[in-house]
Symmetry: C2
Amino acid sequence: MEPGDAARLGPGRAARALPPRLLLLPLLPLLLGRGLRAAASASSGAAAEDSSAMEELATEKEAEESHRQDSVSLLTFILLLTLTILTIWLFKHRRVRFLHETGLAMIYGLIVGVILRYGTPASSGHDKSLSCTQEDRAFSTLLVNVSGKFFEYTLKGEISPGKINSVEQNDMLRKVTFDPEVFFNILLPPIIFHAGYSLKKRHFFRNLGSILAYAFLGTAVSCFIIGNLMYGVARLMRTVGQLSDKFYYTDCLFFGAIISATDPVTVLAIFNELHADVDLYALLFGESVLNDAVAIVLSSSIVAYQPAGLNTHAFDAAAFFKSVGIFLGIFSGSFTMGAVTGVVTALVTKFTKLHCFPLLETALFFLMSWSTFLLAEACGFTGVVAVLFCGITQAHYTYNNLSVESRSRTKQLFEVLHFLAENFIFSYMGLALFTFQKHVFSPVFIIGAFVAIFLGRAAHIYPLSFFLNLGRRHKIGWNFQHMMMFSGLRGAMAFALAIRDTASYARQMMFTTTLLIVFFTVWIIGGGTTPMLSWLNIRVGVDPDQDPPPNNDSFQVLQGDGPGSARGNRTKQESAWLFRLWYSFDHNYLKPILTHSGPPLTTTLPAWCGLLARCLTSPQVYDNQEPLREEDSDFILTEGDLTLTYGDSTVTANGSSGSHTASTSLEGSRRTKSSSEEVLDRALGIGDQPVSSRGTRLVFPLEESADSPPACGDGAAAGVVRTAASPRVV
Amino acid sequence: MEPGDAARLGPGRAARALPPRLLLLPLLPLLLGRGLRAAASASSGAAAEDSSAMEELATEKEAEESHRQDSVSLLTFILLLTLTILTIWLFKHRRVRFLHETGLAMIYGLIVGVILRYGTPASSGHDKSLSCTQEDRAFSTLLVNVSGKFFEYTLKGEISPGKINSVEQNDMLRKVTFDPEVFFNILLPPIIFHAGYSLKKRHFFRNLGSILAYAFLGTAVSCFIIGNLMYGVARLMRTVGQLSDKFYYTDCLFFGAIISATDPVTVLAIFNELHADVDLYALLFGESVLNDAVAIVLSSSIVAYQPAGLNTHAFDAAAFFKSVGIFLGIFSGSFTMGAVTGVVTALVTKFTKLHCFPLLETALFFLMSWSTFLLAEACGFTGVVAVLFCGITQAHYTYNNLSVESRSRTKQLFEVLHFLAENFIFSYMGLALFTFQKHVFSPVFIIGAFVAIFLGRAAHIYPLSFFLNLGRRHKIGWNFQHMMMFSGLRGAMAFALAIRDTASYARQMMFTTTLLIVFFTVWIIGGGTTPMLSWLNIRVGVDPDQDPPPNNDSFQVLQGDGPGSARGNRTKQESAWLFRLWYSFDHNYLKPILTHSGPPLTTTLPAWCGLLARCLTSPQVYDNQEPLREEDSDFILTEGDLTLTYGDSTVTANGSSGSHTASTSLEGSRRTKSSSEEVLDRALGIGDQPVSSRGTRLVFPLEESADSPPACGDGAAAGVVRTAASPRVV
């Protein structure tokens, strides 16, 4: 709005000449949902020009004022974030670790919230509202006839009867209050996508069984336990008369679901900084990423639990199974959506030479990833969950097809988006403690909730770890278990789920409690991470590419009957069969189809698929003129010693590679040599005689162990399939 | 929305359990303003739980449906963009240049528009609306009492009486119709910022005088001529009875203003690709960037022209001067806002060690640049204009303080945003031709407009070039003038200005005409660029760092009385005094204050500012322990031979540098050596005797001429101020 706007609001044709400015920055309805108000694009047709100009003038002025206020409140958030960034820098600069950026964002948010709450005068509440009685239901659109002109209104939402007079009470508080769906549709997707896209794949896949167990079983157990404990608390509160409204068992379960979404962003940041144990990192990160997805779907399944009949709060098996079905349906549907979009992107980037134009490639990648979200929402699945799996798929396949520049571009793009969104949410949380107008603080409930989340986490970490340890060779030690127990922070996801519905008394109480839990866990637990790490004796300064000490080698998930059979079933895991299946499928079919790497499909597919295989296989694989472009160094099976049978083809390695391997391993002093080598050395019994079995031998690329980048030029020797870090087939 | 939502909409407590989902992706109100409708967060309080569940059920279902539709329509746009990207790739791959990506985006938009218009059935228009009579003015917020519950509605805008029945006629068309302010507040800022940030500074500043003349005078002339011609057309139309409604002189001038915003994106893309003449590029690009800003402010000043008295359409000197004042006020205010935020960012990045954390740095840069927009809007200036000058300031100062990674990150981030926003706008234009529901096609007006924009452009390019050539040594040749004449494409800015107000008949006609002008110019002119370039004999394949041939050396804007005086006033330009002033101020004070480069302030500021100067000067300049980080190789005065007097300090260069210069220049065969050297060689008469004058000598860094990066280690010699590309003071 220019000063000129004021000037042109003279009588007469002023109103006509005005562009129909909706008074909002269009970004603002999005960011400040509650601030969405009074779009007064009241430029009349020329016919009504001279009448009622004054009314329009007033509306225009109001519009302009509102636009300015919107700008100011968004500016508040931006300055808050700027301040956070500068303070984070100071903290990082001084190596202060007791307070993470998210904790800081919350503190600044709190301060601004206090100022807004107690510092700004309640605005005059000028007469903008008008009551209008309607008999039937609430329509979504309303046409209002004002002196012969029609205005269109849209439904904002219901106002609880007590709030009618306070609707306009404090404009500023309303302005800084978001539409809760902003979190789900704008801020969470980049955060979740980034989590999926930046998953350290190797360690993630190595621990996939445990991660899935923690994420699915753990979240379910935690949800159930917290729900039951909170139901007990609620009954207690009713007994002592502290509960002023209804609180059902499903409400308690819902609370259990939303509060089970852990978000150890603070802990993980410190892990990253200190290079703490990579497997613990993978366990924590993997669990937190997946249990967000589980918690979303679980909470909507619980909401969907609708017992039939009169006693709507009794247990109903049919409704229960329906809820379970809904859970499975939404989860698998969202998973499929995400995976399919990822696969499509991989195919597009593989079969076009888009990598010559990094800008186009990055834009395409961004759009495709975004479309996952929309597609899932359009089909009735959960966009956030779809985006997570899309991120994982993109990282696993598409990433390999991207040009080097696009790889860093996409990583950096989503890193910035993630950073901004995350700090935005956390500073909003701080703000919400004071500006949210429907808080219900119930000390009993809050204390109960703290106890419940503690017990809930204990009840899934320790027993699950016990059972997982039965099957794992590399046990999850007590210190790891304690650290996982300790890292049960709650964050953005719990908050976003809680703020999504704050209509009823129970939900308001849950929201307030969730907010306090997030504050407490982020500040206290976040601050205690470094002491806890040293107290629990968890090793730091670990090279992420290094394996655990040789006696803990049970992380080798996969074990074929080939070269590794010398070690017998030492490395056998309960879930190994699943992974062997998945891995061979992925390596033999998916990778070659979707990326430029892997064995040629012509060798892995049956003969009758010859034509198809020839079409789908990347020319690079055939010609061996260009080294394979996979630089997916985190790939799971760089560890594993897996027998790969490519039909009948036997590829022979050059002996020098083998001897080089041996000599490197004999040197022994290099602690940073690639883990794949170590595994291989052990598997081969440290020797340079290639062990052959069923015509397939494994030799790992050696350039990985040197500090120089892989010299790809000499890989064109007879049929040697070379990738940067995946096993080379001999 | 998960399938679960449907399930939980059973009777009884269904409604209570529902989260208050506003049915919109919050992104969608933003992107699909007209689609913003009926936010039915109708979850009632627990008290009203059992009543009226059915109504809420209906509203919820509607909400869910609307959310899905929003997702689908956004998905449509994303798929459109994806398709555009893939086709662009194909075109680039095959080196097809006759159709630019924006033209392509428009074609796809057109196709989708046709499908939406004629392919989708008009939706049933179910009974969502209700008329409600109100006596007074239209309020921005409406409270509606529905069977005892209160719902809040917000004003969407006025519906023209004829449209009442068609409000709900075609949901899909409404969904894909944007809130016009989206363009101004979401899509244009990244485009304009990117333009400012990526300005090729050296060539831009060299031609600044001409660019400013074209942008300010040219746009004003073009606006006035087009306005008058169109007024003639309008009178003609009235005479022949083709004008069905009012059309004032100010409307014509307004049209002149919006259509004067050129956007030769297509031409510039081809220039870039073919490495066409850099000065022509700078002239075209600079003009188009600045005249966007001028056109915005001009159009709002014209709207603000409100003659007093009864005859509101006669000329009124007071109102006219008020408009001029408004123009100057908004323009300078927005300029100041942009420059101030840029300067603040430069100071922050200079005085913190934020460059150790590129993520934080990039995030800060992004937030500060965005806050410019909000700040300007909040203060009543024009955000888009502020963002342009912020971009230029950021490029000129902040960019030098950023870490290498942040430089590429910020460039790439805004490049992607710019790319997406631009193609989004152009594909929306294509769509709008069929989906916009208020088109007024008037053949006479359209033909008149084409003639007018042709004449308007001719009337400012040729006379202005003539006058500029009087002062320029390096004349703007006829071929350049014809090319500039030819490159008068209209694009995103004209469209955004035109769609901002489509309330009146005149404005609707203007909008339709603008749309057609954009189509025509982008397709025809864009397609004809390559033939035109060769026809006009404009050289291509120019190294941007290379100077024009020596006989055209009048681009040397600045000329001191020092070393360059040997060449006399050959390089003197009429505007030289202005630039000499600005340059010495910028180089002696602003650069040292805002960046790590330039001479120490202690030498440039008067002695009594000693303490301040010491505080503000970067320690790098003092200690010379770290080489200066300025890598601003586009900096204007790398060309110039300017006398810099740093107080009394005389810094001596090591002789080897000088001789190296000479030897390089004597080799002569290197066509790609840096232009600064060439200038210097000429200035120094090719010799290694440093020419001294008033204690200051210029030697240019030599590492630039070698292909290796500047070896910064040996620059610590006594007081040698070294920058990568700016003149080194001897």
